[in-house]
Symmetry: C2
Subunit: 156 residues, 2 copies
């Protein structure tokens, strides 16, 4: 079965990344028409980039490959359930489908914050562990007014 085969590739990337010391134990692939067009492991500590999760890196690489900022006909395979950051990226990239091996609770058991962040997202901004404050400013809507008035905008 192809889905399992691609997930095994993602697991191998994750194991290799952990064992060779480049970063966290996560791997992801982007597949289009049954072909792998991008693959990455977690590169957070290596690149000094907290956003460099395997899924984010694979999405970026796939977009560069296709010369597009969307991945409509592509499938993401990940060694672990995507965290909220990667889940958001999956929606913005408009992927068709996602398959994963471990889930957020397996990640939590391995000391990763995925499950904690899922819980935080459901809270009101000011109640979160990282306090988030909405400040009312009279001109807050200027950016959206500018966008609405723009006649040559590139929707994304």
């Amino acid at each position: 079965m192809r889905h399992e085969e691609f997930l095994q590739q993602a697991i191998k990337l994750a194991v290799d990344n952990s064992s060779t010391g480049q970063g966290g134990p996560f791997g992801a692939l982007i597949v289009k028409n049954n072909k792998v067009i991008a693959a990455s492991s977690n590169q957070v500590t290596h690149l000094l980039d907290p956003t460099a999760h395997a899924e984010i890196m694979a999405i970026r690489l796939a977009c560069q490959q296709l010369g597009d900022f969307q991945l409509q006909d592509c499938i993401l395979y990940s060694s672990c359930e995507p965290c909220p950051m990667c889940l958001g990226a999956i929606y913005w990239a408009r992927l068709a489908e996602v398959y994963f091996a471990c889930n957020r609770h397996d990640a939590a058991a391995a000391q990763f914050d995925d499950s904690f962040i899922y819980d935080e997202i459901a809270l009101l901004p000011a109640q979160r562990h990282i306090p988030m404050h909405h400040i009312n400013l009279p001109n807050a809507s200027q950016p959206f007014e500018s966008w609405a008035a723009k006649t040559d905008k590139r929707l994304y």
Copy 2:
């Protein structure tokens, strides 16, 4: 008040980005010790990178500036409430605090998917508009076993 001053800078970045045509109407800053150490507008269509939201770009830049993959003593100012992707990045970067001007509903009114993605995150993976499948594999936990056994790992 400093918070409003920094938010005005983020709003200006957002307006300029929309009006000069480089991308979406969003701007963000990272501030440490009352100094702006990184700033960005949305670069999705410009860079062909669906993850290049203003907040993600500012976080990446700030990390490069500090030579670290975490931003513990830093504050994020954003022209709009961070979407779930950026919210996840804020937790992984371990920022101290967040201030924003518009909220997710203002973004939705301007045709951005932030509010939709917040709703999707609360659903079970298989029930989402982008279907997400957990496949049980006998060796799914190999990456986390490798990580647990690793003696020289760099925690993040």
